[in-house]
Amino acid sequence: MNTNRATSATEQLGSEADWLEIIEETSKLQLSADWDGAGANSIQPALVRSTIAFLERSRHEGQPVPDAVYPLSSGSIIAEWHNEDRSRLSAEIREPGRVELMHWFPDRPAEFSSIPIPESCGSAASPPTLLEEALGNRSFETTA
């Protein structure tokens, strides 16, 4: 880890451009069956829309930009965050309207929860979620 320079709030959360990039990349994840050459399920448009709604919600709530968003062979989509304390948060969207969260720790059992994805960002406030708890006090690695 390099801490030679201070990490600004923008660097911590990601800029607007970062969010736009990751949402644009996610919109391209609508893939046909066998996209991996090993018999993968297709990535359904409704799942892509739901993932984007989830990302928009995270952005709206001031969460950091995920480190990666990518499809799985099963046909689901994962958004993943890597924390400086080596814990990792993954959000798997297996069906439209629902996200399965896993907060993984190197030294204790992982925590799991499931939350609904609102159709649009800024909808009624929900109680604190694992996502918010996991990312709320996130610290970041920086590279000079």
């Binding site: 970062d18 991996d36 930009v65 995920p66 994962i78 993954s90 993984w104 992982a110 590279t143």
Partner: protein
């Protein structure tokens, strides 16, 4: 391969598929989607969880190859289906990390494939796509444990 190994003749370092799999051996796995988004890039971006999630055809466990059996990372990449070959990357981890996670490595030679083919039976697509949430969660947590212990040998392309 240890420094002492570098002075040994190649034939004494390479292992046959029938040789016991030891904790200090390196296992390699071909992956897709290793790209990290541009946000606060790191020199050595962590391996993603998805690298160790079973592909649909991996009902017997995720596929890996023992480097000690003479397989080079580039050979593993080049063995990918043509339509995804350019995008594929290769990651590796020690057998010790697999065992530390509570999993095991089973030899499963592929007569027409690369040598040293093994599987990790616990990480299979039947469980990762099960309707049983506990089974799915268990696979995800294991896959994450392996990802956190893995390193990238060849970066996957977008």
């Amino acid at each position: 391969m240890s420094p002492a190994d570098s002075e040994k003749p190649l034939e004494t370092i390479l292992k046959a598929e029938a040789d016991p799999i030891t904790a200090d051996e390196e296992l390699m796995r071909r992956i897709l989607f290793g790209r990290k988004f541009g946000f606060h890039p790191k020199e050595n971006p962590p391996v993603l969880l998805g690298a160790f999630m079973p592909r649909r055809d991996e009902t017997e466990g995720i596929s890996m190859n023992r480097r000690a059996c003479g397989v080079e990372p580039i050979a593993l990449k080049n063995a990918a289906p043509l339509q995804v070959r350019e995008k594929c990357g290769v990651v590796s981890l020690l057998v010790e990390a697999v065992e530390t996670a509570g999993l095991h490595v089973a030899s499963l030679p592929e007569p027409s494939g690369l040598p040293g083919h093994v599987v990790i039976p616990e990480l299979n697509s039947t469980d990762s796509e099960s309707v049983d949430e506990q089974k799915r969660n268990r696979v995800r947590a294991w896959a994450q444990s392996l990802a956190s212990a893995a390193t990238t040998l060849i970066e996957a392309r977008k």
